[in-house]
Amino acid sequence: MAGSTVTRVRRQLPTSPWLFAAPGLVIAGAFVLYPFVSTVVNAFTDRRTLVPGDFVGLANFRELLHDDMFWIGLRNSTLYVLGVVPALVILPLLLALLVQKNIPGVTFFRSAFYTPVVASIVVVGLIWVWLLDERGLVNSLLETVGAGRVGFLSDQWLLLLSAMTVTVWKGLGYYMIIYLAALANVPRELHEAAAVDGAGPVRRFLSVTVPAVRSTMVLVAALSSVAAFKVFSEVYLLAGPSGGPAGEDTTLVMLVQRTGTGLSGRVGYASAISVVVFVVTVALMLLVLRADRREDS
């Protein structure tokens, strides 16, 4: 009797995990795997929104090489990573150090810094448009102090910089929370020992805090670089659907949206751009993780 029960359990064991995983697998298959594979397949076709299209091999990728807008998108997405990631690695850490201590009123500041994270990106975008408009608050202040108006939303580079500022402003609170959790695990004794050895606050930060939270910094760098390369909303809201003056602020994901949607959308071509975005983001992740491993060794 006992033997047959064991046999039955053994026989059922391989099935049970699959049954438990089934709902997740079905959802992942339908909403992650299927769209992904579908995108890769479409990248090799001339499919349009209402026309199934034919297999065209690497034609879409060849066309990408000669598409000025693709290179503009690649440039802007790359610049976005370079501009946003260092700020999102360092500033939230400094912010976390400021609000780490349990002093009266610190909870208010923690909540205040976190508020942009939970705010809708559309609302955030609208607020920043009002602030940075030619007749917005920032320009009015600049005019009051005697400086001229600045074309934050009409100059190609200032527009990109403004969008980066919005991304950093919105992301600070999120990464601050991650750093707060990491900082809570830094042994207090290390700081005390460094202080006994005569290390000042800057020295303690560089020699104790930074090494202790280094793996968290790598995580933040990886997460923010992938998010930055795939940026859409901030630039779209500030630069408008045209992607800034002459489309010069278009990012790769904006290009995917513009090319692949609508009744005449070029789904095949947009899929090819998506494949490039995927490859670059994977490469970015690998690059960050490899740099981390090298640092470890």
Partner: protein, 430 residues
């Protein structure tokens, strides 16, 4: 219950192969054009951002149709204005396009090419004589035979201007510009007198502006764009002069109709296109502006203003074609277009409707003045937007205009590049 590796492998292969099969889906056929038979069954009717203001009108309209044709049931869906084309494309691609759909001619073109719009010349040709000839022809697609939507309402927005800004610039507020030459002169004077602080316009020229300036937009066959001719280059060069003089708002290169409307509302720009509906907005949101509002016709150098055309399309794959065609005709017939026009500032596309006293007699108010003037101009108005001009093409033109205004390319180079890009997109559309 053990799941073998073979089963798992087969499932994985199915997941990979399924999308491949999707590439070959869709027959591209348009189905039968026979809409004869008994008017019955359930149909869906989709409108374009009309529920908020006209819920009662459409509910009454549907109830009247269902009463007239027992056995029919019309389900009304309304979609927001934002992303309307994307919603239709998702429905069309997914096979869930409603039976009767509110469309504009440029939305009909790709649907007709994909065989999803019913050819009304074949299915409902008997109704053609009820509509203005130009309006019926408005939903014909170059390179295809047939008409793919019932004409619905027409519109031609007036141009609003700020009288006090005109007077401050030393311009005659009683004689606003009517042609592009007048406009350019007035705009440069306004920029000069305000030291570049007040712009006259907040938008870069669109394809309609090129049309109203007298630029030929496409060849007769509808196979290539032609807006890079000397006239087009001349228009762009004039706009470049305006931009350099700050007679064009500095943010015009990234403006949307909404953002330029706000600029006009805050009196940062002196002129803006709109519709009679905007008068109510001005009264509520900007009373100071409302006191100084001037209303004039659209700027045109051809003598013909631009006309916006709305249509009602029947899904060629509808299972209830007789009911769908009957309902689309019912919505757009003379009686119902007239009753709709009396609820909102639009104009009927049915023959003879514009001769109704409602569109010919003024009662001294601004509303009737706008209505009568617009109805008058509609008689010779032209829909300048080519039906084959897709959203992607609009972006190409807009970017080319921006490059020219910024001085990165000459107007000729910019328009040549835009025409090249639009022609390529046209060929890819098939």
């Amino acid at each position: 219950m053990r799941i073998s590796r073979r089963v798992l492998a087969a499932a994985a292969a199915a997941v990979v192969v399924l999308p491949l099969s999707a590439c070959g889906s869709g027959d591209g056929g348009g189905g039968s054009t026979d809409a004869s038979g008994r008017i019955q069954g359930d149909i869906t009717f989709q409108t374009w951002n009309l529920r908020a203001n006209f819920k009662g009108y459409f509910e009454d309209l549907i109830a009247e149709f269902e009463k007239k044709h027992p056995g029919t049931d019309v389900k009304w869906i309304d979609q927001p204005a934002e992303g309307y084309a994307d919603k239709i494309s998702a429905d069309a691609a997914g096979g869930t396009l409603p039976d009767v759909v509110n469309v504009s001619p440029d939305l009909v073109a790709p649907l007709a090419e994909a065989g999803l719009a019913l050819d009304l010349d074949k299915a409902a040709g008997q109704y053609e004589k009820e509509y203005l000839p130009g309006a019926w022809a408005g939903h014909r697609i170059p390179g295809m035979s047939g008409t793919y939507a019932f004409p619905w309402y027409l519109n031609t927005g007036p141009l609003f201007y700020n009288k006090s800004l005109f007077e401050e610039a030393g311009l005659d507020a009683g004689r606003p510009p009517r042609t592009y030459d007048d406009l350019f002169d007035a705009a440069l004077r306004m920029a000069e007198s305000s030291d570049g602080k007040v712009a006259t316009l907040a938008n870069v020229p669109t394809v309609e502006d090129f049309g109203r300036y007298g630029v030929p937009l496409m060849n007769k066959e509808g196979t290539a764009f032609t807006f890079n001719d000397a006239k087009g280059v001349e228009l762009l060069a004039e706009y470049k002069e305006l931009y350099d003089a700050k007679a064009l708002d500095p943010q015009a290169l990234t403006a949307t109709p909404e953002s330029s409307g706000k600029k006009f509302l805050t009196e940062a720009v002196a002129m803006n296109p709109g519709s009679a509906l905007d008068l109510g907005n001005f009264k509520k949101q900007a009373p100071n502006l409302y006191k100084n509002i001037g209303i004039t016709d659209q700027i045109t150098s051809t003598g013909h203003v631009n006309m916006y055309v709305m249509g009602v399309m029947v899904n060629s794959r509808s299972r209830q074609k007789p009911a769908a065609v009957a309902f689309a005709h019912f919505v757009t017939d003379a009686e119902h277009q007239m009753s709709f026009a009396k609820k909102v500032a639009i104009f009927p596309s049915t023959a003879g409707s514009l001769d109704d006293p409602y569109f010919t007699e003024e009662d001294g108010t601004d509303e009737t003045r706008v209505r009568v003037a617009a109805a008058q101009s509609l008689k010779t108005a032209v829909n300048y937007t080519p039906v084959l001009f897709s959203e992607q093409m609009k972006t190409e033109l807009r970017n080319a205009v921006a490059r020219a205004l910024q001085g990165k390319e000459s107007p000729q180079e910019a328009l040549d590049n835009a025409v090249k890009a639009c022609d390529r997109l046209l060929q890819q559309q098939g």
